[in-house]
């Protein structure tokens, strides 16, 4: 059974058709990269899979770990093991990071029939993760993403991912806005999640990230469809030749 199976997915925002029949299968242990120019539907695909309001799925199906993903509430998707890394992580002043981490981990444990995590064990785990993402402990007591730099926000996304250990991480342009040091830290974080029982989908605009996190498959999304798939060499070709030639060749 595949971890994620998207079949002929069509989606609209209002009258505007964004996704026009996406087919994608992700198996456990695989890393997929979805690349594409602006406006190709990358973020819409992420949001539809995340369960955000405002998108209408008109056709197609999505199976996640044997479940009908599109029928599930956003929080249930998360608790079933899907993590969406935001392109623009939301600033929530007033809600401390540590509360978000604790609430989300406990929600996941509850969904799996486990009791609340012991505070001591939780703090130990969180502190280790903070250290590994090269962040300061003080950040735990700041508002979620409030006043964070672009790089701090993305590191925070990866930190949450490593704490929640999702079956499938869907990372929407996690590499955008990162300097080279932050990119390395974020990439190391993603590589730590890599494993035979997990899948990772990297949605990205640039090839750069893929030098640090090597994908098994690369897909090119254009006008709401995957028009070309290949291995990691496709990303390099894209970097060398630009979108235009590949789009021309594919159309």
């Amino acid at each position: 059974m595949s971890l994620l199976e998207i079949k002929n997915l069509h989606a609209n925002i209002g009258d505007k058709v964004i996704l026009r029949g996406i087919n994608l299968t992700v198996n456990a242990g695989e890393i997929h990269a979805i690349m594409g120019p602006n406006g190709s539907g990358k973020s819409t695909l992420c949001q539809v899979l995340g369960g955000r309001d405002g998108f209408e799925v008109t056709e197609g199906s999505v199976q996640f770990d044997g479940m009908n993903l599109l029928e599930m509430a956003t929080e249930d998707r998360a608790n079933a093991g899907l993590l969406l890394g935001f392109q623009h992580p939301v600033e929530i002043p007033g809600v401390k990071n540590i509360y978000l981490l604790k609430e989300s981990l406990n929600a996941q444990r509850k969904a799996r029939g486990l009791g609340e995590l012991d505070t001591f064990a939780f703090m130990k785990q969180v502190r280790e993760l903070v250290k590994s993402m090269q962040m300061d402990d003080a950040f735990l007591h700041r508002g979620v993403n409030a006043g964070f730099s672009g790089g701090e926000k993305k590191r925070n996304e990866i930190l949450q991912m490593l704490l929640l250990q999702p079956k499938l991480a869907l990372l929407d342009e996690t590499d955008s806005g990162l300097d080279i040091d932050a990119l390395k830290i974020v990439s190391e974080g993603i590589n730590r999640l890599r494993g035979t029982d997990r899948g990772i989908v990297l949605v990205t605009h640039y090839q750069r990230l893929l030098s640090y996190v090597e994908p098994d498959f690369v897909h090119i999304l254009y006008k709401g469809q995957i028009i070309k798939s290949g291995d990691k060499s496709l990303a390099l070709q894209l970097e060398a030749e630009g979108y235009e030639d590949i789009l021309k060749a594919a159309s």
């Binding site: 955000r52 998360a78 939301v90 929530i92 401390k96 978000l100 609430e103």
Partner: protein, 435 residues
């Protein structure tokens, strides 16, 4: 700022039971006779304030007029939930219990530097000081009423140079009482260089009798000597049916610092007023508040800060979180006198509407006669951020819990100013439960 439609303006007649009380107040009031007689005449001729009176534009006192003649608090019913004992959250407090306006026996062995004298035993001079603030017009009618009927109260003196570490907790525990209303008067005096924390709490004692109604109309006079420091915490919890009107007159001498933290989570109608007179250089006041009206609750805060001397500063920060058909009102007046140069005054009113039927009215009112001042004010009214709710949901947190986290987070900047971690945790829970 307000989406309010004009409200019908009708006079609020003095209810019969209040007229009756005013016809025989001499035995009840502790005010000096002449002062009391004048106040009595004033309130009888004015009646209760209405929406026609500028300071009462948004708050209708009709629930007071509708009170029945006697208290409907049922003392015999066994409590469904035990009264919140705030001493559990405020360690080492000196507790003063006031029941139905009647001062209960004073705590024994008060530390050196604290003197508490019931007004019934206070000197003429102290009584005169306690009743010094006079009603100037119908906007102040409740002060006149309090002066006419003040049946209990006390003088709290903090000696010069005393540093009182443990908080003094006044527990307004208004349960068994025959009348439906009480009028309390406090005189709080801090000697020069002294420091104290005063907590006034209206605990959730009547949750066993949801239909009970009771009105407390309080006036406090706070006089702070040079370089003294008072933390004044006001906690209004629980008790949905409670009516509470209170007004504090604060007078600050040179370098004195007054800090008020007011948290209102309960009450059918509450009106909280603070008048701060900053009369000498170097003095400062911080006024912080959070009101959370739900159901059909109306919660109102009016502040008036007078910068009467140069080099004085003030800072105000008020939050309202209104849900259901609740209404929250904040009006903050800052007056800078002509010769009061080098003033800094900052006012911030942030508000959260949780439903389409809730209402928030907020109004800054700056009156500045000096030319070398820094005054700023800001007011915002918003809703919960859908993006933030979605983000939290995407981390596995249910929509309801996301809402709780956001509402508690919004309130946090006021709650966190409290110096007691256990109290902060308790209030956060109450706020989360109400969100």
């Amino acid at each position: 700022m307000s989406a309010a439609l004009p409200r019908a303006i009708e006079p609020v007649e003095l209810p019969e039971w209040l007229r009756a009380a005013l016809s025989q107040p001499v035995t009840a009031s502790l005010a000096p006779t002449g002062v009391q007689t004048l106040a009595c005449e004033q309130i009888l001729s004015w009646g209760l304030p209405t929406a026609r009176d500028e300071e009462w534009r948004w708050t209708n006192l009709r629930p007071i007029a509708r009170l029945s003649a006697t208290s409907t608090i049922d003392n015999t019913a066994s409590p469904k939930t035990p009264a919140t004992d705030l001493t559990a959250f405020v360690p080492n407090a000196w507790v003063i219990r006031c029941n139905g306006g009647q001062l209960q026996p004073l705590p024994q062995n008060l530390p050196a530097g604290i003197t508490i004298t019931p007004l019934t035993e206070a000197s003429e001079a102290d009584c005169a000081a306690a009743f010094a603030p006079r009603a100037q017009g119908r906007n102040d009618a409740l002060v006149a009423l309090n002066t006419a009927l003040a049946g209990d109260g006390f003088v709290l003196d903090i000696a010069a140079h005393a540093d009182i570490q443990a908080p003094i907790l006044i527990d307004w525990h208004d349960t068994p009482h025959e009348a439906n209303h009480s009028h309390t008067r406090l005189l709080i005096r801090l000697g020069a260089h002294s420091k104290a924390t005063l907590i006034e709490a209206t605990p959730s004692s009547c949750s066993n009798t949801p239909l009970s109604t009771y009105w407390r109309n309080a006036v406090s006079v706070i006089e702070q000597g040079a370089n003294s420091q008072l933390n004044h915490i006001n906690l209004g919890l629980g008790d949905y049916q409670r009516l509470l009107t209170d007004r504090s007159f604060v007078h600050l001498e040179r370098d004195a610092r007054y800090r008020s933290i007011h948290i209102q989570l309960g009450g059918q109608l509450t009106r909280h007023e603070i008048d701060v007179n900053i009369s000498a250089p170097g003095a400062h006041c911080d006024l912080l508040g959070l009101m959370m009206p739900r159901g059909k609750q109306v919660m109102d805060t009016h502040t008036r800060i007078t910068h009467g001397a140069p080099h004085t500063t003030s800072n105000e920060h008020y939050l309202i979180i209104a849900d259901d058909a609740g209404r929250g009102i904040f009006k903050g007046r800052i007056l800078v006198a002509q010769d009061a140069q080098k003033i800094e005054a900052y006012q911030n009113s942030r508000n959260l509407l949780l439903s389409n039927t809730a209402e928030i009215d907020t109004k800054p009112e700056l009156e500045i006669y000096a030319d070398d001042v820094k005054c700023s004010h800001g007011a915002t009214i918003g809703r919960l951020d859908d993006e933030a709710i979605y983000y939290l949901q995407s981390r596995g947190i249910s929509a309801a819990n996301a809402r709780k986290l956001l509402v508690t987070g919004f309130a946090q900047e006021i709650i966190d100013a409290l110096p007691y971690p256990e109290l902060i945790a308790h209030l956060s829970e109450l706020i989360g439960a109400g969100a």
